[in-house]
Amino acid sequence: MKPTNASPTENLNINNIEEFLAHARAMEREAADQYAELAEQMEVHNNREVAELFARLSAIEGKHVDKIVEKAANRDLPHLAPWDFKWQGDGAPESAAAMEAHYMMTPHHALTMALDAEQRAADFYRRVADETDDPQVKTMSLEMAAEEVEHIAWLKDWLKKYPEPDVGWDDDLDPPMLQE
């Protein structure tokens, strides 16, 4: 098994536009859902600043979903079981590595997590473009990779505002206990 959210290593072999859009839609939707879930988790743990940040990232990914849905209009996209996507063994490439989350995480950690996710998404689209035989898939995949690269640059700028916190940022002498 590959590490969580690692880039896929198998041949992607996506050779028609419907299958490509099914992958893109699922990837963006899972990313939006994952950020929304992380926002809720941070809200529950009263980490409001990071909750707002994740909510914002979720909204951004939601717009990507809308774009893909628009591109897919009038096309019959195939149904793929969760385990039939090309990102076997992992979550979708653009989903934040939620198991790296921490209730005391800072905006620095959240943005670093998002940056990694965007990088995986860009890599995924580039690899699809490299390995496909379909010119339409190649063109659209390169467009999407370029968009992800823009997001990476934007996230890097955003991250400059939040330097890495000192060691011990997660020290807590009384860690949480669920409320029954």
Binding site: M1, P3, T4, E18, E19, D33, E37, L38, E40, Q41, M42, E43, V44, H45, D76, P78, H79, L80, A81, P82, W83, D84, F85, W87, Q88, G89, D90, G91, A98, M99, E100, A101, H102, Y103, M105, P175, P176, M177, L178, Q179, E180
Partner: protein, 279 residues
Amino acid sequence: MSMDTVCKPELVARDYKSDIKPVWCPGCGDYSVLSSITKALAELQLPPEDVAVISGIGCSSRIPAYVDCYGFHGVHGRSLPLATGLKVARPDLTVLVASGDGDGFSIGGNHFMHAARRNVDLTYIVMDNRVYGMTKGQPSPTTEPDWDSALAPGGTGISPFRPLVIALAAGANFIARGFAGDPNGTAKLITEAIRHPGFSFVELLSPCITFRPDQKNWKTQVHDAVVDPTDDMGRAARRLMTDDGFNTGVLFTGERAPYQPPVGQATATVSDLEERFAL
């Protein structure tokens, strides 16, 4: 790859999620397990009203609240008797049982063996993080003997419980292990477990990052089992003798017929029963 361009699913994973926000720690593997369960239910297109999720006590046992199906958050270690009663009375329902290593293997350990022996058609999902998380980090039955912690300095020195060995010996009809960090692979295991008749046991390694931060390394330790599932108990047992605890996939698929007593007419009303217990 299987693609169906004709039959589009009507229910999607989010249709099975309730509006209640989970209160697990961020980073907990149980979020991923919840997602895998809802993906499996969506893949099977099971109407939510035909599904019941039963649990005991512990972090993992909160799952019934977070799914939009029928659910029962029961008492500690007693999820399997509840689920067994429900399934034999309502065989039309798909019954999932959610538990953890403390709830399922300690106080509920005896029920685990007998549920496997009875082979009622249940899917038993145990989120194993090798620690009691809800009560702040005590060693559980599956904790490594040398796990050093403030509550067990130097470790317990006690050999851990081996859930797959017990499941096989007791007669479970489907046995698998997955990892929460592989949500889609886990969804597949749960789907197969639900489809398989009889008692299906799925152990899911689900890290507790708060009390076992060392489990963040699990993602580099888990690996696909290099063998196919077997229906031969002897072969499955031999494989378990060399199991490192991190093999994932389906180990065993038995062919024993599930136990399902005939569902007849009730011979007494609830009031009749209450009268018999009146002092």
